[in-house]
Symmetry: C2
Amino acid sequence: MKVVTSDKVIYTFRPDMEPVQKILPDEIVEVETNDCFLNQIENEEQLIDEIDFSKINPATGPIYVEGAEPGDVLKIEILKINLPDKGIMIVAPNEGVLGSFVERAQTRVVKIENKVCHFKSISIPAKPMIGVIGVAPSQKDGEYPTGIPWKHGGNMDTTDITEGAALYLPVNQKGALLALGDCHAVMGDGEVCVTGCEIRSKVRLKTTLIKGVPLEWPIVETNNSLAVVTSGNTVEGAIEEATRCAVNHLSKGLNLDWSDAYMLASLVVNIKVSQVVDPKKTVRASISKEILNPKRIF
Amino acid sequence: MKVVTSDKVIYTFRPDMEPVQKILPDEIVEVETNDCFLNQIENEEQLIDEIDFSKINPATGPIYVEGAEPGDVLKIEILKINLPDKGIMIVAPNEGVLGSFVERAQTRVVKIENKVCHFKSISIPAKPMIGVIGVAPSQKDGEYPTGIPWKHGGNMDTTDITEGAALYLPVNQKGALLALGDCHAVMGDGEVCVTGCEIRSKVRLKTTLIKGVPLEWPIVETNNSLAVVTSGNTVEGAIEEATRCAVNHLSKGLNLDWSDAYMLASLVVNIKVSQVVDPKKTVRASISKEILNPKRIF
C-alpha cells in the first residue's frame, strides 16, 4: 500500500499543484496527517504566542489520481481514521462563537484511550473525522488557503466526513490533486470554540472515479444519508446554497418539478450546521437515502 | 379529562391574557389545534389570495396552570399528537429560503395514512411535532404575535418538540398561560419552503411545575438529548445565544470553569437548525443526556 508521509504538506489548495504521489483509481492509500497546529502544541503549559500561526491546517498531499479529468467526480471512501493517544484543544480571545468572552488563551490535552476521549473527568465516545479534505480548485475559483472551505472541499469541518463515509468531490484539474489533514477525534456540529479534539492521524482511503458527472459542491454519503456541503460568508448564505442544491438534486433525482421539489425539501431535507467559526461558514443539506438514493445523482 | 376546543384561539402571546381553561399541575389535558392557516385551505385548487392572512398561526388557549408563579419552570410532557388524514403545504413568492425563485403560489394536499405522509408518489414516515407552543411573555419582553419565536416559546418550529418529548418553558406570569397550535405531521430541520406538512390535531399534554428555577430560553428534552432553543434576527445571532446558554448549563451542571465548559461544548454540543423562514430564526444547542442529565439543570 502506498503511504503519503506527513512531511509532504500544503497550506493552499491551488489550481496548479505539484503532486507528491500518484495512485490508480480503486487503489487504497494511507495518508499521514498532522494536527491543525502542525503538532506544535505538546502540553498545557505551552504559550499559544509561541506557535507559528503561518503553519495552521497543513494538508498532506497532493495526490494525483490517474485518469481523473475535469468534469469527473472523485469518490473518496474513508476506510480508517487512526486515533492517537491524545488530542489538543485551545480557546483564544476573539476565536469561536463566544470569542469576545475569552480573556486569555488556554490549551487542553485530551487523553484518548480505547476510542474514548477524556476531557477532564468527562468521557466522550470518539467519532474520528477529517476536517480538511479537498482537491485543486478550478481556475475560475482560484486558490484557497487550506483553512477555508469552498466548492473544492477544504476546511469543511463536517462531522459526517468520518470512518465508513464516502466523500464526493468535483474534479477540476487533471489528476484531481487530493490533499487532507486536520483530523478530529471528536467534534460537535458547529465546532463552537474553534477547535475539535485535534489529532495527528493516519487515514486510509480508497478513491474511485465517476466519469463525466458534473458536481457543484461536495456531497458526503453516510450509512443513512446524503448531504450537500456548502459554504458562504454567512450561515444564511450557506443555507441558501445548500437548499438550492438539495432542491435541484431532488428535482432531477425524483423527476419532480421545481416547486414540488422545493416543498418536498421542506419535509425531508435537514439543514445541519458543520462549522460556524472559520472565515467561511459551512452547513449541509442532509437527505435520507430512503428518499434520495446516491444512484439517482451519480 | 379536560379538553380545550379549537375555537378558543389567540394570535398574540401577551403578558396579560384571559385564560379559557384552568388545570392543576400534573393534570392531563387535551388541546384541539387548528392548522397554521386556521384550516382555510381545503384543496389544491384554492387560490392563496383568498386566504385571510390575519388568521395565521392560531394557538389554542391560554390555559391557566394552578400554582404557577413567575420564576417557576413549566414542564410540558407531550403524550400524544393526533394525526389527521391530510396535511397542507404551500409555496409562495418571497416565502422560504428560495422564495425569490418561486413564480406563483401553489398548494399541495398531503395524504396521511398509517403514520405515513404521501407527498405525490413519495412516502415519508410521519414524525408529528408542535410548531407553536408558548406561555405569556414577561412584561419586559412585551407581546409577540404567535408567528414569532422568543424566550416564552412561540413559533419555534423545532422538530424535537414531538411525541414523547418534554418542553420546559419559563413561567413569566401567574398561571403560566399556555397556548399551542401549528402542528406538523412531518418537517425537515430548517422548514425551508416555509411550511411543514400542516395539520389540525389533538394534543394530549401533562404539565408539571418546577418551583423557583430560573430559565432564560426554552429547553426541549428528548429520549437522548437536551436542547436549548434560541431565536434571533439572524441564524448567527441565534447560534451565539444558544452556545452561550449551553456553555452556562455545562459550566453549572458539571461544575467546570467557563473556559473548560466552552471547550467541552465544542466537542459535545451539536448546533442544530430549527427554522430559518420566520421573522426570527430558531436554532438549538443539543447535548446528549449522557453528558448533561436534566437533573443537573432542574
